[in-house]
Subunit: 237 residues, 4 copies
């Protein structure tokens, strides 16, 4: 996907995305550990917990873009509802992976989302309900293409922790779904963005949501350093 | 669909639905004209205008049920988003039919929805955003099964007005989609309703939304009697 | 209030309001009983129950108009929030009156709102969240001036049922608050309505919300005829 | 206000607030400049622009807490609507101050909020619409008490820029309103918080919203370093 296309705007968006990922791997404590192959099982579990939390809202805020659909564009509305349907319930995979790792966590006893996770969730609802309709595509653009950046460190993690495929369903499933989604997101961006302002608004959401994701993961890492394990969360709270 | 099933609750819902339709055909001025084959082209056009208005909101309020999804039930959430996707943009068919009939109406110059249409729309949003999740199925239950009741008078109308299939895309398309949807709605009702209170809440929405639809159509008929034609709406407003 | 003002638009709104009230007293089964002095204690109680339900939402939907405030008009926004504050918790008075009448009803065991009450509530939220900002004033316009029309029959009821002032706090308190509110609503209408379309939009809400209130009260009367008393509601449900 | 009270929970909240402010003045580039008396007129103007943006939403999200009011607590609901009324339109003061400084800025030509400002706004809506009702008080708690911390550096700024009172209406007006509000916020916290979890939820919002405010101001400072002046914003965008 990140190869060049016929659209200078998409290419420019891709270039910014790559540079933001580069910045993350350089400056984020979490991503530095991730790249170095230093993710422990407990840290992976804490990551999955926050993944569960924000993923619960992704199909919801995606659908809300279709609910607004101020221009009554049936094709974009269908895209929003269809993607929302495709991603409904994916948070269950994060819970499944946690349990496959041996953590007795379900939606009743899971810890509340970290403030940084809530901030990411809040921002995505805000953009979905008040931004121009194309803006949420800025989130989809990087989220559906993140595998290029996270699969190599994830392979290290899988190997060092000897993870089975039953313990990584969330990330594996998404890397598969997202190949097709990624094409659709690009096509929809070309359809929806009709001015430099439109592209700029999308770029802003891409950058901001990726940075907030980085802040969330750094908060996960910081929590890990303070508590070591999901099992200790209650006492550390 | 209205044949008996293995579920006494579905059968009872069906019986109530039939009795409500019977009541409509007996007491509603619009439905009496409809059954008698007395729908003129102008009255059909006024009907399509209000159909456009409420249909614009149906995929939206259907999606909102999935956005809430308080129990995090992935299967019901997917059902909501999928149905919303299936019905996205259907209001365009109502506009298409209007133009195929010769009325120069588009979304810029269409008249505002009647108060009775707004009331129906408002009620469906209210139920979708505050009711128990299964309640909106009470609307789907009758809406996806209405063809048994409206196809016979519609056949009379089609014949008396010599309507072509290009002038009836809205109702024809829905009667086709809705065969499959109707099965899914029944299956989902059986999955979602776990108590007599649940079934009663669904029944209440079925009755209320059908009655509000009847009031909307009676308001269409009353407008028709005052104005004769969409062309006269401006002067009559 | 219903005397003539210096504004032809306000005077015309008042004339329409009077004519709608006249229509209600002529055609509504509830209002005919009310005017005839035939409201029993049980019927008054059923009325208070629905009053509790819609009143819970009035300060809320009033505040939502201020939350939207698309034109960033500070004066109108302050009016909305101030009126919402003035009416917050008034539903408690309806509960209080019920208990003062001897009914053991609180918010835990109160029956659910009738479909007609839900429809009124739904319509007021719809107008408050999607109408032009001034439209909800169409509801306030008649609601804050209804005492001219309902105090005479209410006096008959008070006398025939020997009601004490502790049993009529809801209606008495409102008739007092609303003298001042009514002036403010008129001033705000003159400030907000700048075209014939604006006045027409307000008039539509005035008529529709008054009619929906009439339908709610007729549903109360119909429920009364079927059940006689709040005490029988459970068995009649 | 930050003196000790009879409530250990309020005292603990105050202690955390002070420590967060200490952290801000130590680590935030903006607050270090602010404390050192190095705020230029252009930087003050950029600050006022973002102040305009988030302030537009404060009375709105405050009112939304009253709209939800899940426990139907009339006293808290009235508090929310009353505070919303008190703060309605305060964003106009920020615009006024900008113009009094000589910047030709109004709501038509003002630059869009920075991503960090949007994130703060988004977070406050999220907490107001999905948190426990008392949580937004965590924002009010520090916001209505911030003058202890910002008045000393503000005095330096006022002196070094020779600002008149007509150029600082926003901050002066708030420091006055907030004396009374601050007492009410404390009383309401004592009324609403009934468990350690409640106080913890409030503390989390206090810390998070103060940090997001710090990030917003650091983004203002960073924008200032890139552009020097609001007049250059268009070319730098």
């Amino acid at each position: 996907m990140s190869n060049s296309t016929n659209s200078p705007e998409l290419d420019s968006l891709t270039a910014t995305m790559k540079s933001e990922w580069g910045r993350l791997f350089e400056t984020s404590p979490f991503f530095r550990e991730f790249e170095a192959g230093h993710i422990s099982k407990d840290l992976y579990a804490l990551w999955l917990i926050e993944t569960y939390h924000y993923t619960r809202h992704n199909s919801r805020n995606q659908a809300l873009v279709g609910v607004r659909n101020p221009g009554d564009d049936p094709q974009y509305q269908r895209f929003c509802f269809q993607h929302a349907a495709d991603e409904a319930g994916h948070e269950q995979m994060a819970l499944h992976d946690l349990r496959a790792l041996g953590y007795e966590i379900d939606k009743q006893n899971i810890t509340r989302p970290l403030p940084e996770t809530q901030t990411l969730i809040a921002y995505l609802y805000w953009i979905s309900t008040t931004g121009i309709p194309s803006q949420r595509l800025g989130y989809s653009f990087w989220a559906e293409n993140c595998y290029e950046f996270i699969l190599p460190p994830m392979a290290k993690m899988t190997e060092s922790l000897s993870l089975t495929s039953a313990q990584t369903t969330f990330f594996v499933a998404h890397s598969e779904i997202d190949v097709e989604h990624s094409q659709q997101v690009q096509a929809m961006l070309l359809r929806q963005c009709n001015s430099e302002e439109d592209w700029q608004a999308v770029r802003e959401v891409m950058i901001t949501s990726l940075r907030l994701t980085g802040q969330m993961l750094d908060a996960v890492y910081s929590l890990y350093q303070r508590t070591s394990s999901p099992a200790n969360l209650a006492s550390a709270a």
